[in-house]
């Protein structure tokens, strides 16, 4: 019985932590003024916020008696896919020149997918980014 009360308290606490992180992340998404800084804010929503909500769901299932660990699957899926989608959005920002172009690479001539650090400042608005030349 006391374990169930403890699980209910822990569930409420993790719900509060998750809602705090979600609020902070979304306010950051709205208030920052650079695309790359805006990109870093909602990663808190995707990992800690939703992770805490799923943890609260698990703890609540322990508290009401029908325990389940299904939410671990969603949590691991989100934790694996969040960096991948953030990397894709960062690539969109870099290739469409909406952020600062990264500096020249130390050893090679170009970055792996970016043609050159200084050239072609603004592409046409709906032009897809050209295929990068590979220099083996």
């Amino acid at each position: 019985m006391s374990g169930q009360i403890l699980a209910t308290y822990a569930s409420a606490l993790s719900l509060l932590i998750g809602s705090g992180f979600i609020t902070v992340g979304v306010i950051g998404l709205l208030k920052f003024n650079d695309p790359m800084t805006r990109l870093h804010a909602p990663t808190k929503v995707g990992t800690i916020g939703i992770g805490m909500l799923l943890l609260a769901s698990m703890l609540h299932s322990f508290a009401i008696g029908s325990s389940s660990m299904h939410e671990l699957l969603i949590m691991s899926f989100l934790f694996v896919t969040a960096p991948v989608s953030a990397n894709f959005i960062a690539k969109v920002n870099i290739h469409r020149r909406t952020c600062e172009t990264p500096p020249a690479p130390p050893r090679d001539d170009t970055w792996s997918t970016l043609n050159s650090p200084e050239a072609e400042i603004t592409p046409a608005p709906l032009d897809p980014v050209k295929e990068p030349q590979t220099n083996v």
């Binding site: 019985m1 169930q4 009360i5 209910t8 308290y9 569930s11 409420a12 606490l13 719900l15 509060l16 998750g18 809602s19 705090g20 979600i22 609020t23 992340g25 979304v26 306010i27 998404l29 709205l30 695309p35 805006r38 990109l39 909602p42 929503v45 995707g46 916020g49 939703i50 909500l53 799923l54 609260a56 769901s57 609540h60 299932s61 009401i64 029908s66 389940s68 299904h70 939410e71 699957l73 969603i74 899926f77 989100l78 896919t81 991948v84 989608s85 894709f88 959005i89 960062a90 690539k91 969109v92 920002n93 290739h95 469409r96 909406t98 897809p128 980014v129």
Partner: protein, 95 residues
């Protein structure tokens, strides 16, 4: 037990409110986002917030049947984010 349950009810209300505010604010960013990356990011955040709403609804009703819904929304959100970014990068999704 009753104080724990009432605390859980208050926490559920706060979480519902936070997720709703999150949906509204990321909708604002979706409308006025100056670049395409911001719009994709706002859509991704809205998908994740919808997932959180479904999870909190499952806690509120005390049932387990929303697990599949949550997993499907997570997979669909990831695939749609990657497809949008890839379309902006290459002009095509599957080459």
């Amino acid at each position: 037990m009753s104080s724990a349950t009432s605390l859980l009810d208050i926490a559920l209300l706060i979480t519902f409110a936070a997720l709703a505010i999150g949906q509204i604010l990321s909708m604002v960013r979706l409308v006025l986002g100056p670049s395409y990356g911001d719009r994709i990011l706002a859509l991704d955040t809205m998908v994740i917030n919808a997932l959180g709403l479904v999870v909190v609804l499952g806690i509120h009703q005390g049932v387990q049947i929303y697990f599949e819904v949550t997993l499907l929304i997570a997979m669909l959100g990831f695939v749609s984010t990657v497809a949008l970014a890839r379309f902006l990068l290459r002009g095509d999704i599957i080459e």
